[in-house]
């Protein structure tokens, strides 16, 4: 695996980064660029965490977690020189197409711009409202982006840095102008359903817009706070260097490889197959780690990209922490509701009415907001909906290298799939895979007959494979009480933790998950700020 120096012999470094997911690698790269000796310890056999490309059937490879790149800021990609380290795009500016049974697919265009002619034919009102709505949200997103790219202030702090950060936040919102400020404050606590239903009437357009507000969350579009999750996504996309919705060549794993190369080029060491058993504490400071092999490595600082529950409750242990803090960590809501379906296909699937270009983008089965909400309702009661919400990509359209010649791969995110269905996964797995296949078949007749292999990863599988508590790809719900300056919990929301020299840098932290990398970069800043 990628390495520099001889990491196996290293006994002491300035910084140990636990976990070689994208946030861990970004953090390591920035720390190494600042001159620290850095060792990344990854439990799996390759870097990337959930951002990996792996074989799921002989000859067929797929991005095991997220399958599109749309959140990582351009500045980060440029600073780390990822383009020179193997990051290439098989497709950029990919379109989104809303599917609906019995209706022609509606292409809502690239980068969120609907093909207005198609919409015009369906609803002149929606076609007229869309540009202004989209522009407004983009203004909000651009105003909020600097929040994502900075260490959140501490609440109740007397420090000037915290006060200035809060003042800046207020100023940024005020600088939107009176109308926009009022509108932002009006909608920020709202649910996506009401926001979208107020503006649009076409169910498929509503569904497609609402889908982005709830993808990867534990909420239906009617849940309060879903405008916040939408704005969080749009804010990250506003600075994304990938022209929103891009597909790295070789899958998301290629991005992780490039990040690892960037970290190594900056001087970091990366060790894979090195699961950390525990964080070692000396004189009330994090002093290093002990690997599952028993090997101990000392460090001036330990930075964990594992989720907050894993870091504090498993790797560190509650006896080094106060009860109130442990209670907050234990109460973190982090049950994932997104599953992954991977299909090996004998031929290119045919979605009637979907153009060849659109098939290279993403296809949404989210025909209306009510459809999404109903799918969520089932999950609340431990059931899997018979009408699932699905985001489909066929990555081999843009990147044939992922499958044998002429063959194809379908990668789908299925929502809302409960972590622990009442029926139990032993009984439910095969049945529900069939349900999802049938839902796909309804939009792509003949798909089922071309499937040669299928892999269904439930949230419980994602937890097992990637070590994410609850299988939640944000490492904890993005909700007001787990957001910004209280994410993941008060006392650990500035990447520092109650234990000196222990930091968090994963998706548990602000600004959350998705392949964004900002948690890793902000954490590196926090480490450097403290040690300086």
């Amino acid at each position: 695996m990628i390495a520099s120096g001889s990491p196996a012999a290293t006994r002491r470094v300035d910084c140990i980064v636990i976990g070689g997911g994208h946030n861990g690698l970004v953090c390591a790269a920035y720390l190494a660029r600042a001159g620290r000796s850095v060792l990344v310890l990854e439990a799996a056999g390759c870097v990337g965490g959930a951002a990996i490309t792996r074989e799921f059937a002989p000859g067929y490879r797929v991005s095991a977690g997220a399958h599109l790149l749309h959140l990582m800021p351009r500045a980060l990609i440029d600073e780390l020189g990822l383009a020179n380290r193997g990051l290439e795009y098989a497709g950029r500016n990919l379109p989104t197409t809303a599917l609906a049974a019995g209706l022609a697919p509606l292409e809502v265009g690239a980068a969120g711009q609907p093909a207005l002619q198609a919409l015009q034919a369906l609803s002149p009102r929606d076609a007229a409202a869309y540009p202004a709505f989209s522009a407004r949200l983009k203004r909000f997103a651009a105003a909020l982006y600097p929040l994502l790219d900075s260490i959140p202030p501490r609440l109740g702090s007397d420090a000037w840095a915290d006060r200035i950060a809060l003042l800046k936040l207020g100023w940024r919102i005020r600088a939107l102008g009176r109308r926009d400020m009022r509108e932002l404050l009006r909608i920020i606590g709202m649910n996506a359903y009401d926001l979208i239903a107020d503006e649009f009437e076409t169910p498929r357009l509503r569904g497609a817009l609402g889908f982005d507000a709830v993808l990867g969350t534990n909420f239906g579009p009617r849940a309060p706070g879903t405008v916040l999750t939408l704005l969080n996504r749009l804010a990250a996309e506003s600075a994304a260097g990938s022209a929103p919705l891009a597909q790295p060549k070789g899958g998301l794993g290629a991005l992780s490889e490039a990040l690892a190369k960037a970290a190594v080029a900056a001087g970091a060491m990366v060790r894979t197959g090195a699961p950390v058993a525990r964080i070692r504490v000396e004189a009330d400071r994090a002093a290093g780690v002990v690997l599952e092999s028993g090997e101990a490595i000392d460090a001036g600082a330990v930075i964990s990209s594992a989720d907050a529950k894993s870091t504090f409750l498993k790797l560190l242990g509650t006896r080094h922490l106060d009860t109130g803090f442990v209670r907050k960590v234990d109460h973190l809501r982090c049950r994932g509701l997104a599953a992954k379906l991977h299909l090996a296909l004998e031929r290119l699937p045919a979605f009637p009415g979907v153009s060849a270009a659109a098939l290279g983008g993403r296809l949404l089965i989210a025909p209306s907001l009510d459809y999404i909400e109903r799918a969520w309702d089932h999950s609340k009661y431990g059931e899997c909906s018979d009408a699932p919400t699905v985001e489909i990509t066929v990555p081999t359209v843009n990147d044939p290298s992922l499958a044998p010649p002429g063959r194809h791969v379908l990668s789908a995110i299925v929502q809302y799939v409960p972590y622990a269905p009442r029926a139990g996964w032993a009984a439910e797995r095969a049945r529900y895979t069939g349900v999802v296949l049938a839902a796909l078949e309804a939009h792509a007749p003949g798909l089922g007959a071309s499937v040669t292999a299928a892999e269904f990863l439930t949230p419980a599988d994602l937890e097992r494979e990637f070590g994410m508590s609850g299988g939640h790809w944000h490492h904890g719900d993005l909700a007001f009480d787990q957001f910004y300056m209280v994410r993941p919990v008060p006392g650990a929301a500035q990447y520092r933790t109650p234990l000196a020299a222990l930091y968090l840098c994963g998706a548990s932290c602000h600004p959350g998950g998705g392949v964004m990398g900002l948690a890793g970069r902000n954490a590196a800043r926090a480490v450097l700020r403290e040690a300086a």
């Binding site: 009330d284 409750l313 509650t318 006896r319 106060d322 009860t323 109130g324 442990v326 209670r327 109650p498």
Partner: protein, 402 residues
């Protein structure tokens, strides 16, 4: 718990009766019952003065069954308690008791109480208030079992200078060898009784722990054994006088459970309460340690101290001033008493820095209601060490045989 002899449904009679209730009911002359931790208990049996003087001159029985009791056991019990409380529980040997406080994350006191080490991996924690939620949340990551056993144990404090003699005559052979904070197991007429040499009076005294079914016979046996030694049942008011003389703190009087305070600045750290001697920074991590280290580094903002107040009017709830003119307010009294034994007007008071140094003169603003007419006294007060009363007999082993 004994069955409640009442035809009323429980929600019409929400207070429990202790296993000693029938005996207390026979002796109480003034019908002054007060609720305590879900039980009805006696505030005054006859007169406060009579009961107070029995504590200092004879033997008294005080029903402390309502004291909340938790059983904590399991392989990690020592580590668990060591993380919970500020003292080093590893030093507590089986068969011994320790006075402890425990704090929240900010190093502010939740409660104080006593830990009984009943075995290598079994403890009993006695607390003023129920806090199973805090205890259970503290157990995350520890292999330990926690259960409330309040109703399973009847408890009786036997306190006063003749208490050892009374217990011996009652049948606790060898009780005179029991040292302060030591636990002994005894059997009287086939009834097992656990005795700890602990108490809340600052005097010679013991606490008896027994099965509820044995409660009445133990009470009767003690009353018979103590008849010639002036034994008397006492209520909470007399005990409160004794505990102020002994300098002991009472939750919700001298401090408020930090997890119950809603106003900023109302919670108190053990350092502020003058309990710094209970905080052992040299042991492994415990709740509030980092906050307390920071507080120690910055210096205390206030301190709970003893006050010697001029005159004989107790300084109940008095505000304290730095000068007689009463311009600069520097604290307030939490507990006050004309001490009959010390013949001093004493008080516990929370005083702002830097006015808490021993010997500092403060002025207590005392309000007196004299036949419905309010009068005000500015009483000169001096910061003094606690306790106010600490007789040698409380520690003497064996105690005087009388």
């Amino acid at each position: 718990m004994p069955p409640i002899a009442s035809p009323l449904p429980h929600f019409r009679k929400p207070l429990l009766e202790t296993p000693f209730h029938a005996r207390a009911r026979e002796l109480v002359q003034t019908d002054q019952f007060v609720p305590w931790a879900g039980y009805t208990t006696v505030d005054v049996f006859t007169t406060v003065e009579q009961e107070y003087f029995a504590i200092r001159n004879a033997t008294t029985l005080y029903d402390l069954t309502p004291m909340v009791k938790y059983r904590i056991a399991g392989p990690d019990a020592v580590d668990y308690l060591n993380r919970l409380v500020t003292r080093d529980i590893r030093k507590l040997r089986p068969g011994r008791v320790s006075y402890v406080v425990w704090c929240n994350d900010r190093g502010q006191v939740i409660d104080d109480g006593t830990v009984f080490r009943l075995g290598a991996a079994e403890f009993r924690l006695c607390t003023a208030e129920r806090q199973l939620d805090w205890l259970l949340d503290s157990a995350l990551g520890f292999d330990v079992e926690i259960g409330e056993v309040t109703t399973e144990i009847a408890a009786l404090a036997v306190q006063g200078p003749t208490s050892c003699f009374v217990l011996k005559r009652f049948g606790l052979a060898g009780i005179e060898r029991l040292k302060v904070f030591e636990i002994g197991e005894y059997t009287v007429a086939g009834r097992p009784i656990m005795v700890s040499r602990t108490g809340f009076t600052g005097d010679l005294g013991y606490e008896l722990w027994m099965r509820p079914a044995d409660a009445e016979s133990v009470w009767d046996g003690l009353m018979a054994a103590g008849r010639t030694r002036g034994i008397r049942a006492i209520g909470s008011q007399a005990l409160n006088m004794a505990r102020i003389e002994a300098g002991f703190l009472l939750p919700n009087v001298d401090f408020v459970n930090a997890e119950h305070t809603v106003r900023v600045g109302r919670a108190r750290s053990p350092l502020e309460l003058g309990l710094g001697w209970l905080v052992e920074f040299d042991k492994p991590h415990f709740n509030g340690r980092r906050a307390l280290l920071e507080e120690r580094r910055r210096g205390l903002k206030r301190l709970l101290v003893g006050l010697d107040v001029a005159g004989n009017k107790p300084a109940h709830n008095a505000l304290l001033y730095a000068e007689q003119a009463g311009r600069r307010e520097v604290g307030s009294v939490t507990s006050a008493l004309w001490s009959p034994t010390c013949k001093r007007n004493i008080a516990l008071a929370l005083v702002e820095a830097p006015h808490y140094a021993p010997g500092t003169t403060l002025w207590a603003d005392i309000y007196l209601n004299r036949e419905l007419v309010w009068e005000r006294r500015m009483a000169r007060s001096t910061v003094v060490d606690r306790p106010f009363f600490a007789p040698d007999r409380r520690r003497a082993t064996p105690p005087a045989d009388r």
